[in-house]
Structures are given as C-alpha cells and as structure tokens.
Symmetry: C2
Subunit: 430 residues, 2 copies
C-alpha cells in the first residue's frame, strides 16, 4: 500500500507510475490462444471435446454433457431461498428498467435540399455470453450481460460456461432461468469463444460475444474482434474514492475492501483532503480486513495496489481522477454534483455518502460491466448498444439529386473515380 501527498516532491513521478501500471498478468497467452482458436476452427466439436476433457475434466459425450437443460435452471431457481430469489428478481427488474431507457431512437427526416436521411437501429441476430466457472461465477454477471441483450431484442442468446468436473453453479442457473436464456453450453476457455465465433456442428455461431473471463478468454475475444463484435477488453477492476474528512472511516474502508476482495490484481485508491482521515481509514482497513472471509485476496490486493493520496484541496483530486479514468468513482463529499461536473473520465460515478459502489454491482440498475485500466478515457460500460447496430439510409428524387449530385461529381473526378461520377451523371442526364 502506498501513501502519497500531492505536495511531495516526487508525487508526480509516483502518481504517473500508478496511472501507467497495468496490473495485468504478464503471462503471454497469445500463442496458446491462437493455436486453440485455429484448432476449434478446423476441427469444431472434436476440438471442444478434447479441450474440455483436458482443461475442465469434463467429458462431452451425451447431449446433457454438452448442455444444461432449461428444467435444470428452473429446478435451481425453485430451490433458492425465497429471500435470495426475490433479491435476484429485484436486481433483474431494475437492470431491465435502466437498460430499457437506453434503447436508441431511429431517425428519419427530409432536409432543406429535399434529401431524406435517417438511421435505423436493429438488434444483432445472436449473442454469445461467457459466464466463468469457479470462484468468479457470479449470477449478477449473468444478469448484467444477458438483460441488455434481451432488452436490445436479440432473438438468440447462447451462454457458454465451463463446468469443471461437471459441477454447475446453482445461482448462475437460477439467474439464467430468470432472464429466460435456454441455450447453455458446458464449455469454457478460449475454445468456447472460438466455438461461438466460428460455429461448430453443435454450436451455431453468434454475432457478438460479451462477458468476463480469465486471461485466455479475454485474449480469445481480442483475437476474434472483427470476426464478431465483442465488449471491451477487460482488465483488473478498480475503485477511486474521493472523500472529505466528514465521512465515517469505517464506511470508506469497507468500500475500498469491497474492491480489493474481488481479486489480488484489483486496485483501491482513496483521495482525501484530510490526512487524519486517511490514517483512520487505513486503520479501519486493517481491522475490517482481518475479519473478512475474503481476507487473503483483499489483503493481497490492498498491500500490492492500495493507494492513499492526501491533497490540500479536493478540487485537486479532479485532474488526478481524470488521469486515472477509474472504473468506479465514489464522490463522498457535501456537493458531489459539483465534482461530477468536472470529472470527465470514469466508468461509473457514485454520488454522495450513502452510495457504496457495491449497490451498483447488484441492484441499482446501471451495468456493472465497465471500462477498466484507464479505458474510461474512450470506452463505456456495457449497454443495449453493444447488442445493436445502426443502418443509415438515403433517399431522394431527381430534384434532390440535382441539388447535391453535381458537387459529388466534382469530388469524384477530383479523386480520380470516374465511374462514381458517371453513376450520378447518367441519372441527371435524363
């Protein structure tokens, strides 16, 4: 854990290092993934069988080795505690409402030149959703990925998820039941991404692939970008809390730990204008983390990547926050609105003292799939737009072509493209 003051002479050098640090695993998986994808493309289901036996110790023999049936999802849902079922349903309903509000509007208008112009949005035909197995198998991730696709109007949604030694996660199945996804394949890793992108005899190919995964999954998506659409390249998660000294240090410590407990590569940063408060938060992190069932991961993350920054004035936090372009930013201050107006780069902003980031992970409604690793400079959280595309259209009659065609003819000739010019000239001649 690092303690910095923005008045330290070496602050800029240290802060720049934090901004540039990628924290990603240094494993070079590119070559492995390239080979796996080539093999899946060439051999299809046969390659899936081989890799699944090898990596997941799961044999894909009968149909129910390949797929999880809808009635298994329903059974998992029915077996849940009523409280937990209601919580999942509330989350699903709120996520759905927020994403319905994102649906884009078509455009269709005729301008002064008499030219009709527009754009229409359509869902993709099929989306593939990766759901990790093991520790990171979160039902909330399934909701956050599947619901925007459903809201966008995607007709076919295919989930791929590894089931190591055949084990499934009942919460994930229950979430699939709630969203109504009934195509769930028991394959994972780069090979599952390859199957979704290229298609196999059993698994029909999709148009867009989203969802979190390990380094192999992320690299497979990156390599297949362009063959299919993908959501953002995701890196380790992060939170930036900007807080004055009037907060309860226990609350802020819990917020920092809620990020740290995700993964050893996660990062939690506090910027405050109150040095005493920073110390209190540090103490509370130590006390709270010792009691967590997730303490090993949380401590590893906090010790390696945690940062406490003391500034003289919270206004000074803003340029630092814009450079970090963090995935999650909490503004625990009296007037969070004023700071938000100047915060240009962030995945999601949590306004005020009563909004811990965790509430956004589950039930607030906005998507929790957000840009990491400074990518909020140019990328957005997952939305219905990731499952849709826009087609522009142009229409005009002869008067319209007479109004704007001659300029196009000029430009076509200037660019050395005579057939372009001819296609307009012929129509204007009549």
């Amino acid at each position: 854990m690092q303690r910095l003051k923005n008045t330290d002479p070496d602050f800029e050098a240290k802060f720049a290092k934090i901004v540039e640090a990628r924290r990603e695993s240094s494993q070079d998986v590119g070559r492995d993934v390239f080979d796996i994808l080539a093999r899946v493309k060439a051999m299809g289901d046969k390659a899936l069988v081989e890799y699944t036996t090898r990596f997941d110790q799961h044999n894909l023999t009968n149909d129910n080795d390949w797929m999880i049936a809808p009635d298994q999802c329903k059974a998992a849902y029915d077996a849940l505690d009523a409280d937990l079922r209601d919580a999942l349903q509330l989350a699903a309903d709120r996520i759905q409402a927020y994403h319905e509000d994102q649906l884009p509007h078509d455009r269709d208008y005729t301008d002064d030149a008499g030219v009709r112009l527009g754009a229409k949005w359509r869902p993709v035909d099929a989306a593939g959703l990766y759901v990790p197995g093991g520790r990171a198998a979160y039902p909330s991730s399934l909701l956050m990925n599947a619901i925007p696709a459903k809201v966008a109007g995607v007709e076919r949604l295919a989930i791929v998820t590894p089931t190591p030694k055949g084990e499934t996660n009942p919460l994930v199945l229950a979430a699939a039941h709630i969203v109504g996804v009934d195509e769930i394949w028991r394959v994972g890793g780069a090979q599952a991404i390859g199957a979704l992108a290229y298609g196999t005899d059993r698994i029909e190919r999709v148009d867009v692939i989203t969802g979190p995964g390990n380094a192999w999954v992320a690299e497979a998506k990156r390599q297949l970008y362009g063959v299919v659409g993908i959501d953002m390249v995701a890196g380790p998660s992060e939170i930036l809390v900007i807080a004055d000294g009037k907060n309860d240090p226990d609350w802020i410590a819990a917020d920092l730990l809620s990020q740290a407990e995700h993964d050893p590569t996660s990062q939690s940063i506090l910027i405050t204008d109150d040095a005493d408060f920073a110390e209190q938060v540090e103490d509370r992190v130590d006390v709270q983390s010792a009691m967590l069932a997730t303490r090993k991961v949380a401590r590893e993350s906090w010790d390696a990547h945690g940062v406490l920054i003391v500034v003289e004035d919270l206004e000074q936090a803003i340029p630092l926050a814009n450079r970090l372009a963090a995935e999650h930013v909490e503004l625990a201050v009296d007037d969070p609105e004023a700071l938000m107006g100047k915060l240009h780069h962030a995945g999601s902003i949590f306004l005020g003292r009563m909004v811990p980031e965790a509430v956004g992970d589950y039930v607030a409604g906005p998507n929790h799939v957000l840009p990491t690793g400074r990518r909020a400079r140019f990328a957005s959280g997952l939305s219905v737009l990731d499952f849709m595309k826009r087609t522009s259209f142009i229409s005009m009659d002869k008067a319209g072509l007479e109004a704007i065609g001659p300029a196009a003819i000029k430009l076509a000739h200037a660019e050395g493209l005579p057939a372009h010019a001819a296609s307009i000239e012929l129509r204007l001649k009549t």
Copy 2:
C-alpha cells in the same frame, strides 16, 4: 464474374462460398506489425525517423519535415478551383448536419424507489486520424473521419499521413483546412498508429484512432485495440444492388463499376428478378468499363468478384441480402421502403432508382466509413459515438438505500463477497 440463379441446384453451395469469402490479402503482416509497434513504444521518435526514411523515403529532420503547417493547408485550399472548393464545403456542411443529429442525450431521472440514475456522454480528449497517402488519399475520407470527431466535441485532433518522398496531396490539405485540423504529422504505416497510441516526445498520444489504411495500418489498429479505442476493422468494400427490370441497365452498370473501381478486392453484386435485365447490365458493364480511366482496377474487381444473381421474385433477395450484410445496398425498385423493412443487416441503404451509392460517398451526409465483410451483422458506420463515451451515475439517500440495499446484501453474501455486503450494512445500521 459469376452468374447464378437461385433455382440452380448448386446455388446454395455457391452462394455460401460468396458469403464466406473474405477477399482480404493473405499477407501475414501480424509479426511485422508487432515488431514495428514494439520498436515505436521503446524508441519513440527515433523509430519513426528510421521507418519513415525506409518506407516513405522521407527524412524527418526539421520541424517542417515532421509536420504540415496550417498555412500550407490554407494555401492548398486557396489554390483550388472555386467549384471544387464549393463542392468540398457542401460535403463538409452536409456531413456536419447529419452528424450533429447523432449527438446523444444525457439521462438523469429518479425512479419509484427514490434512486437517482443517469448517464452522461463526453467526448474523448484526443482523437488520431489516419489519412492514407498515394492512390487512396481521399479528401472525402478526411471529412468523414474528422467531422464526427469535431461534432462530438473532441478538443484535439491529430492527423497522421505518409508523404512518400515528401509529396503531399493538396486536396487532403484543403479538406484539413475546411475542417480546421491543424496538427498534421508526416508519418504513416503501422509506426504512425503506434505513435498515436503510445505517444512519443513529439506526438502526444490520443484516446481513439480512426481512418482507413493498408493491411499494416489495419493490423496495427487491431493489435492496439484496448490500448486505444478504434473504429471497426475494415476490409474490402462492397455493393449489393437489388433491382427490378424497370431500371436503366446503364445506371445499374455504373453503380456496380463505381464500387469495382475502388480496388481489385472490391465486390459488386446485382440481384434481380429479370434475367434479360441481368444480361443487359452485364453488357453495359463491359461497354462502360472499357472507357474508364480506372478500367484496370474495375475489370480486375468485376472479373474476380462480380456476381449477377437472378431470383424468381425480389422477395427472395431479402434473405440473401441479410446473409451478405453488405456495406452498401441499393434498392432500385418501385417500393424500396417495403424491402428496407425486411433488410436487417446492411451498412447503408440507398432507397429508390435516383440514389446511386456514389452520392453517399461524398455529399449526402451519412458517414461513408461503413462495416464491410459481413460485419454489418454486428457493427455500425462511423458516428459521433465513436468519439464519445458514456459515464453512468447513481445517487440515493438513506431511504433509497433502505429500499434496495438489503437485496444487494443478500446477493453479495451469496456470491461470497462479504466486504461488498459490509459496505451497505454499515450505512444501513446508522
């Protein structure tokens, strides 16, 4: 050139082959590009000097070897024929108007649970635009890439363009003057993309890179996807014309050739319900192409990739068109609107007999940077959204947290994330 009938017994096999064909150069540039990018990252400007001498025979010594000055752009603009200047200006004005209409709206509302939710859109800070040198140096491309960035509100726009043996393209400089881009670097290739993404002493890094380029440029963008935002992976251009027999075959032939003259890898496809008309179009392509200054490229494209498909009924064209998901689709029929309603996958649609695709390349207003190679299944044309990103935000008071917090606590515990739960529990306890 292939002639197909959808009643031929082998039609499906042949059509499927056309759908799957990538037409991309088979050159494996991945390794070269990887090395170039690594060298630019490590050595910065020194690597740019080396590569530019080697690939462009241009020495980057003095400041004016590195950059094209704004007064050179103004001089190029002033030297243009008035007609051409007006044509460029009309194009710029219409592109700007269409893209202004695309600007997204922020959201900010409070729902029934008393939770305030929203999203705000912001431009990226800096965008880099690749403008090819040589044959494909089109001023229209500069307008189509730079204007959406300007409309989005991007403050810094940096153009990179190779100037082989020091030569510049006056039309491109004039277009830069019209749009008001004043940072133009005389570097190209993968090394220019690397400089924009990583930054060098001279060239400050950008957040998003767009613009067409050769195989090296496209591969460099693909490899840097995630380090920066990029526009779509672009492949060879294509047009699909769906036409009945009531069209002038000369018009349709010119439309097919306008695509073919772009590049030997371009593809022009006609689907018609009139076999005689298809033959007439084929004749007119032969006659017209013989007279074109671009005949060599146009014939090469048409002979290798041109397709004439005769169907029994134009309704049968629609599923074929959806499988092709073509970049440009002309609907030269009596009721183009009816066909458009069923055409789900296309980059841009040209409605009716009086709308040659070329008018969209220059002056109609919608962007001419469009998804190719079946990518219209999941991707959209370039828009202001490519230069913006969305930040979600969440706010609530204690009553709001009491309404939705308990469900989040349930889910956090179920996912094995106790610090997530604690961050909410602590606030609800007070």
